[in-house]
Amino acid sequence: MAYDYEKSIRPGKLPHIWCPGCGHGIVMKGLIRAMDSCGLEKNNTALVSGIGCASRLPGYVDMCTLHTAHGRAAAFATGVKMAKPEMTVICLGGDGDGTAIGGNHFIHACRRNIDMTYVIMNNFIYGMTGGQFSPCTPTGMKASTTPYGNPDPTFDISKLAIGAGATFVARTTAFHATQIDKLIAEGIKHKGMAVIEVLDDCPTTYGRRNKFRSVVDMMKKLKENAVPVQAASKMTAEQLQGKFLTGVLYKEDKPEYIEQYAKVIAKAQGQAS
């Protein structure tokens, strides 16, 4: 059966604003399937984003949504979750929003292990503002601000999240459509901070500048370079050169922030009386 996405999209919002082939639309469909499979309902689900092409996603989805300031999605989402712990909170945004201007909020949300899901669309570039390099632009690749090739080392978002304390970390790509919903759904069900990194494509500001012939070419690269984490253990370092791991990269049970905070409240109230 054809999937009914329209029921989750605000009336009159399609066609969306993203460029032809932009992977953000593929992620949005994956998110809708994931929310459906978890049985999430409008009044109990908050989608929170910052600024950027990726961060426009919540504007299309018929849930409680919050489009905030650049890089601040995790901070606002933390506020929502603290005020309404019964809500499912999902952060959405780009690599620039989440790891450049918002890097601090991102790592501290991970450190707290607050019960939310952060879907980060990593297209290796600041798409919205015309293709400036981000902390995720691979070394040597071109951006409007690195016309001779990017000299900077690159953030590995998943490793960053694990290092900072997130307790569920997974990676997939815009090509691997069915894995997007599976991993987001697993993240939603996980109690604690779940980060799902989706390697994405921006044909307009990254693809063209880096001599990808088309968006299909970009998708093929995502397909070819993805190595499922189970398969990687049987491969040599040489074979893994230039590849990235996909699937659930890390999972751990650790005390969750809202519950820890509730204990503090109980303690303080006990002392007061």
Binding site: A2, H16, G25, K29
Partner: protein
């Protein structure tokens, strides 16, 4: 998920109705390129269903269309 080889797949059941919402289609060609049985072809800026009888209902086109523009109705 890897695309099944065109020659290896067996077609079963009735031909599905493949709907393209032309107002949404931005002509990126992702659906046509990854269709294992070449059901779809690009015609300038929109995709056309050229060989519906070859469709194996793998749903890859619908899953990967970034623009909500293609639907495979199987029943």
């Amino acid at each position: 998920m890897s695309s099944p080889k065109a020659e290896a797949v067996q077609k079963t059941g009735a031909t599905p109705r493949i709907e393209v919402i032309e107002r949404y289609c931005k002509g990126c060609s992702i659906c046509a390129e990854f269709c294992p049985t070449k059901v779809l072809e690009m015609e300038t800026f929109v995709v056309k269903v050229v060989k519906p009888e070859a469709c194996i209902k793998c749903m890859q086109c619908e899953l990967r269309c970034p623009d909500f523009a293609i639907k495979v109705h199987t029943e």
